[in-house]
Every structure is written in structure tokens, then in C-alpha cells.
């Protein structure tokens, strides 16, 4: 029993300790390299001024980052004026200059959201469509004529935003033969250079553009608005001091600088935090190795997620199993439901939890514990069904009270099946927890995703290896427990 208490304590700490600290600024960032770097720049600049910072660095899209700001789950994050225009104001650009767009966006945020756009950086991260060198296509009008024969590779947002595919169709009449979407944004470039797609959407600050070798097509009918990058801050969290710290960061950033910083992470494989630190120090980052300390932290986070979800899953499964123990029809229904539930893709479950329970650890634990509960429920119900039916009669005949029957007969006999399902559930939770990174729950999945952005096999293998090691450890430990339970029954 003591270990359950210990886990419960750990869980409480994991879930509630960060929130209870006063006077922290929560910095958000979306789920791609540039946002990780700029988010780190904001966070570290604030930390250098003695402000406590909490990072929410893997928000899976502009709409999610915005919703987190509105729900005050974060206090600030880096956003682009054109993106706000398309995603938040939902107004098309009208070929205006950057100042006009900024003014429109600023006024809307003050009026409707109570948030301030600080002074923009010199970064204008415009949308561009890119092709391999040697193409005859010069601008988007020319591309539109051959688009039906081409495959375009896109980030997930671009498919549905008005300043994306729908806009290309509206303004240029462009319709592509095939659309390939990439949740790991950086991989579009792989697909383009390997000729698996013909066109991709890029951003002006992508380092691959600076390295040459790709052709940016001119937006001849001016579909895309300007995309100036600036910190957006909730008014409730904004102080003059915070504004001046962030302004000082923005003043040092322009498009060419950002291309260089993005390259340091994706091409040269530095951690975003290292790049940000070196930039604030005004030096070049020193040679990067594999991020061991980050691995240790991510592994602990990951184990915490899995353990917490098993504990919560148990709390759900145990009463349900007891409820169904003597009710055959209910048991059949539960078994059917658990099979159905287990088929729900984890990515979809996390996505659906988002509007209900928000981002981060809590949603991840809820999602993971549901899967765990299903496995445990199946194990428990299966174990119950396998008990000899005469058992109850014999026990009653021996004069045992119902309570004694449960504790002395049912529980010990059920134990091996229970521990076996615990083992399955824990190993599954460790695997599934990697996907929780999509809703900013951290852990080894987060490291996998940055490894993907950097196309760094060693880092991917390292984080996968850590997950396997955790799973094996859990498997071995519970297998020992299972054998003990079996031998004590025998």
C-alpha cells in the first residue's frame, strides 16, 4: 500500500505544484522550430531579469495557441500579424502594408481579447511556395496552370487556412493533383528534395531558403499578407518591465537572423534553448552533443505520465469491475465497450480532450488513464470470469462473511490476472505517452518530435531507446510481482 501512497504524492506534485507558484509568467510557443527558439528567447530574457517562467512549448497550431491565450492558460506567445488576421480575425488580407495589418490586429486584440501586440521584431515570416531549382515556373499564376499535375506538401494548418490552400484556390484558381500534409513541419523539405512532392509551402525564415537551392515563387496577385513576428501578451500579465524586456529581444531579430537561428537548430542540431542562450549572450553556440540532461528530464516526465495514468486508470477500473462482477450482461457490455474504446486512435482522443480539459499534463493523464482503465477492466473481468463458480458457495459454507470472502478468496485468486493486466497497461501507457507530446504534455515524445524536426536519427533513437528501457523495466518489475502472486496462489 505504501507505494500507492508514494505514487499518489508524486502525482499530486506533478499536477499541481507548478500552478501553485505565484508570479510566474507562462510563455507559450507553437510546435515548430522557430517558435521553440523565439519562445526560449522570451523565456530566458525574462528569467535573466529574475522573473519565474513556465514554458508551454508545443502548442499544436495557431488556433490552439490563441485559445490558450484567451483561456489564460498562457500569458504570452510569439505570433505573426498575418496569421492573426487569418486565424483570429478571420479577415482576408487586402494587399495592405505591414503597418496597416498590425494596426488592424492590434485594435481587434485590445477590444475583443484584452491582449497587446508589443512592438514587432524585424521578422516578416511571409508564406512562400517553393520548388526545386531548374523549374520553369516563376510565379503563382504560372503554377496554377500546371497545379493539377502536381503534388504539394503542406503543414497541417496551411490546408485549411484562408491564407493557405483555400486562398490559393480563391485568388489563383489553383487546385493541386494531390496534397500531402506533414504534422512534423520540417519534413516538407525532405519530401521536396527527395522529389516526393513538387511544391511545398515555406516560410521566409526557413534556413533552407538562405542556403539557396530552392526557388521561391512570386505571389503576383498578392494573396499573402505580411507576417510580422511580435510577442502577444495578455493585458493582465503585462507590465512595463516585461514589455521592455521583450522589446529588447524583438529589436535584435530580423528575417536573416531568424534564418540563421533556425539553421542552428535544424541543420546544426543545437537545442533551441542553447541557441537562445548563445544569442542572448551575443556568442555562437558551442558544439552540440546529444542532449543527455534533457533526456533524463524527459524520461522522468514520461515515467510520471505513465505512472499517474495507471493510478487514475485503476481508480476507474476497480469500481467498474466490482460493479460488473456478478452481472453477466453488464460485464459483456463493458467488455464490448472497452474493445471499442481501445480502437480510438490516441491522437484523436487527445485532440478531442483538448477543448474539454485544455493542454498539457492533465489532459494527457486523462487520455492515457482511459486506455489503461480499459486494459485493466478487461483483465479484471476476464479474471473474475475464470473463477470457479462453486467458489462462493464453498466459502459461504465455510462460514465466511461477504467481506472475508472478498478479501481472503476472491482478491488473492484474482491477483495474478490483475498484475498481468497491470503489466500490459503500463507498457502500453509508456508507448502511448509519446503521442501526448502533440498536446504539450512533454516527455520523450517531445524529444522525438524535435529529433524529427532536426532529422537527427541518433536523437530519435535515444528517446525511443529510453521509452523502450522504461517499458522493459516496468515489464520486468511487474512480471516478478506476477510470478510472486501466482506462486502464492498455488
Amino acid at each position: 500500500m505504501r507505494w500507492i501512497l508514494l505514487i499518489a504524492l508524486l502525482l499530486t506534485h506533478l499536477l499541481w505544484a507548478p500552478a501553485s507558484r505565484a508570479e510566474t509568467i507562462r510563455v507559450g510557443a507553437k510546435n515548430f522550430t522557430e517558435q521553440w527558439i523565439v519562445g526560449e528567447l522570451y523565456a530566458q530574457a525574462l528569467e535573466r531579469a529574475g522573473i519565474t517562467v513556465e514554458r508551454r512549448f508545443n502548442l499544436a497550431g495557431s488556433a490552439i495557441a490563441h485559445a490558450a491565450l484567451v483561456a489564460s492558460e498562457i500569458d504570452l506567445y510569439p505570433e505573426y500579424t498575418g496569421t492573426a488576421l487569418a486565424v483570429v480575425l478571420k479577415e482576408p488580407a487586402r494587399g495592405e502594408a505591414s503597418d496597416t495589418v498590425l494596426a488592424r490586429v492590434r485594435a481587434f486584440y485590445q477590444r475583443e481579447i484584452g491582449a497587446t501586440w508589443l512592438t514587432p521584431s524585424g521578422i516578416d515570416n511571409g508564406n512562400v511556395l517553393l520548388m526545386r531549382p531548374g523549374t520553369q515556373v516563376a510565379d503563382l499564376s504560372a503554377l496554377a496552370r500546371i497545379a493539377p499535375k502536381l503534388t504539394i506538401g503542406l503543414g497541417t494548418e496551411f490546408v485549411d487556412r484562408d491564407d493557405g490552400l483555400p486562398g490559393l484556390e480563391r485568388v489563383y484558381g489553383m487546385k493541386f493533383g494531390r496534397v500531402a500534409t506533414f504534422s512534423a513541419l520540417a519534413l516538407r523539405y525532405d519530401a521536396l528534395t527527395r522529389a516526393q512532392v513538387d511544391v511545398i509551402n515555406g516560410f521566409a525564415t526557413d534556413w533552407q531558403i538562405a542556403d539557396g537551392a530552392l526557388v521561391a515563387l512570386a505571389d503576383d496577385l498578392a494573396l499573402f499578407p505580411p507576417y510580422q513576428l511580435a510577442p502577444v501578451v495578455r493585458n493582465a500579465a503585462l507590465t512595463p518591465r516585461i514589455a521592455s524586456i521583450l522589446d529588447a529581444v524583438s529589436a535584435r531579430l530580423d528575417t536573416a537572423t531568424m534564418q540563421r537561428l533556425n539553421g542552428l537548430v535544424e541543420r546544426d542540431r543545437f537545442e533551441p534553448a542553447e541557441v537562445a542562450q548563445a544569442f542572448l549572450d551575443g556568442v555562437e553556440p558551442t558544439r552540440a552533443g546529444l542532449p543527455w540532461s534533457r533526456l533524463a528530464r524527459a524520461t522522468l516526465e514520461h515515467a510520471g505520465l505513465a505512472l499517474a495514468s495507471i493510478v487514475v486508470g485503476l481508480a476507474v477500473a476497480l469500481p467498474l469491475a466490482l460493479l460488473a462482477a456478478r452481472r453477466d450482461r453488464l460485464r459483456a457490455t463493458m467488455l464490448g465497450f472497452s474493445a471499442l474504446f481501445y480502437a480510438v486512435p490516441s491522437l484523436a482522443l487527445f485532440a478531442l480532450l483538448l477543448p474539454l480539459t485544455g493542454l498539457g499534463t492533465v489532459s494527457a493523464v486523462i487520455g492515457l488513464s482511459l486506455y489503461a482503465a480499459m486494459v485493466l477492466l478487461r483483465g479484471l473481468l476476464g479474471g473474475l470470469a475464470a473463477l470457479p463458480p462453486q467458489l462462493d458457495e464453498v466459502a459461504t459454507g465455510l462460514g465466511l462473511t461477504p467481506r472475508q470472502r472478498l478479501l481472503r478468496v476472491t482478491v488473492p485468486l484474482l491477483l495474478p490476472a490483475f498484475v498481468a493486466s497491470l503489466r500490459t497497461a503500463l507498457v502500453a501507457a509508456i508507448g502511448l505517452a509519446t503521442i501526448a507530446a502533440a498536446i504539450d504534455a512533454g516527455g520523450l515524445g517531445q524529444m522525438l518530435l524535435t529529433g524529427l524536426a532536426q532529422r537527427w536519427p541518433a536523437k530519435i533513437a535515444l528517446s525511443a531507446g529510453a521509452a523502450v528501457l522504461l517499458a522493459l523495466l516496468a515489464d520486468r518489475a511487474l512480471l516478478l510481482l506476477e510470478r510472486q502472486a501466482r506462486s502464492s496462489v498455488a
Binding site: 497550431g61 497541417t156 481501445y342 480510438v344 478531442l352 508507448g431
Partner: protein, 198 residues
């Protein structure tokens, strides 16, 4: 329907191919019955699916092929383990009798070992099929297409309908597989007990 059909077809193509490959591979490797292969399969069961996808990337780039490879690797293990477990059910003395009757190894497999182990093997196929159909949603991380695209896009723009458009067909597919293969499993088990009874 227009929004659903292409990703659905991609999903079916990817899952179908991965299932066929993992069954072929799982059965072939399972027949070797080697201990190392079983241990490797047990190890593979602990690999997170996202990690398998990510690791396929440096080898094969983005898109369909690495997604296929990753899903195949992922689903081969349950097939293989089920084949080993299913064939292990066969009484060794039965095998000796069969050899004594002059049956070749192939005849023994086809007439005795596979039929006797088939309920367990089909149970393994069912697990593999459902894991593939659900796991194929992760192909969206590396441009592999399928229903995961709809889910990821819905997630990015906070569109619940879009998420459901991707998720519901996956659940329906999984249910169909569960029902179909579950029925096969029961039928095989029933046939077996009939034969044993007769």
C-alpha cells in the same frame, strides 16, 4: 464525402499493405520458432509506434513507404508471437505420430499444426489488424497520409468535426475487423472442438 474519401482510401491502402506484409513476415519468422526471434518480437512490442515511424524516416524519407515499413515492423511482432504460441499448443507426441505416419514437415504444418493453433493465430492477427488501423493515423507525422491527416488538421485549427471525421472511420474500421476476425476465431475454435469431439 469528398473530404473523407481520399484519406480513407489512403488509410485502407496503407493498412491493407501493412497487414499483408506483417502477416507474411510474422508467419515466416514464427515458423523458424527461434528463441532470438521471439525475444526480438517481445522487445519490439515495447517500442512506441511514434518512435518506429520516426526511425523509419532517415532510411526511407517521408510518405507512404516509411509509414508502411514502420507499421509492418510494428505489427509483425503480435503475429509472430501468436504463431509461436499457437504452434506451441500442439502436443509434441502428436507431431511424432504425424512424422511416424510419413508426413512431411509441410504436411504436418498444413494438416495438424496450423489447424490446431489457428484460434490463437487468428487472435494475434486481430490484434495486429486493429493496431495497424489505429496506428496508421500516426503516419500524418511523416506525410504518410490517411485519416490521421484529418485528425491532425482538426487539431491544428481546433475543429472538432474535422477530428471526428478522421477518428470515427478508424473506430468503425477497427470494429469491423474485431467483429470479422473475432467471428473467424470463434468459428475455428468451434470447428476444432467439434473435430476433437468427433
Amino acid at each position: 464525402m469528398n473530404a473523407l474519401l481520399p484519406p480513407l482510401l489512403e488509410h485502407l491502402r496503407l493498412s491493407g499493405a501493412a497487414f499483408a506484409l506483417s502477416v507474411a513476415l510474422g508467419v515466416a519468422l514464427g515458423l523458424t520458432g527461434s528463441r532470438i526471434v521471439t525475444q526480438l518480437a517481445n522487445l519490439a512490442r515495447t517500442l512506441p509506434s511514434l518512435a518506429v515511424l520516426a526511425l523509419a524516416l532517415p532510411l526511407l524519407g517521408t510518405g507512404f513507404l516509411p509509414s508502411l515499413l514502420a507499421l509492418t515492423l510494428y505489427a509483425t511482432a503480435p503475429v509472430l508471437l501468436a504463431v509461436v504460441a499457437g504452434l506451441g499448443l500442439v502436443d509434441p507426441s502428436l507431431r511424432e505420430i504425424a512424422s511416424g505416419l510419413g508426413m512431411t514437415r509441410w504436411q504436418r504444418l498444413r494438416r495438424i499444426e496450423f489447424p490446431l493453433g489457428s484460434p490463437v493465430i487468428v487472435a494475434g492477427l486481430r490484434v495486429a489488424a486493429i493496431e495497424i488501423v489505429a496506428g496508421a493515423t500516426l503516419a500524418t507525422f511523416i506525410g504518410g497520409g490517411g485519416l490521421g491527416d484529418l485528425i491532425a488538421r482538426g487539431l491544428a485549427v481546433r475543429d472538432t468535426q474535422q477530428i471526428l471525421l478522421g477518428a470515427v472511420p478508424v473506430v468503425v474500421l477497427a470494429l469491423l475487423l474485431e467483429a470479422g476476425l473475432g467471428q473467424l476465431e470463434r468459428k475455428l475454435a468451434g470447428k476444432l472442438s467439434d473435430e476433437v469431439g468427433a
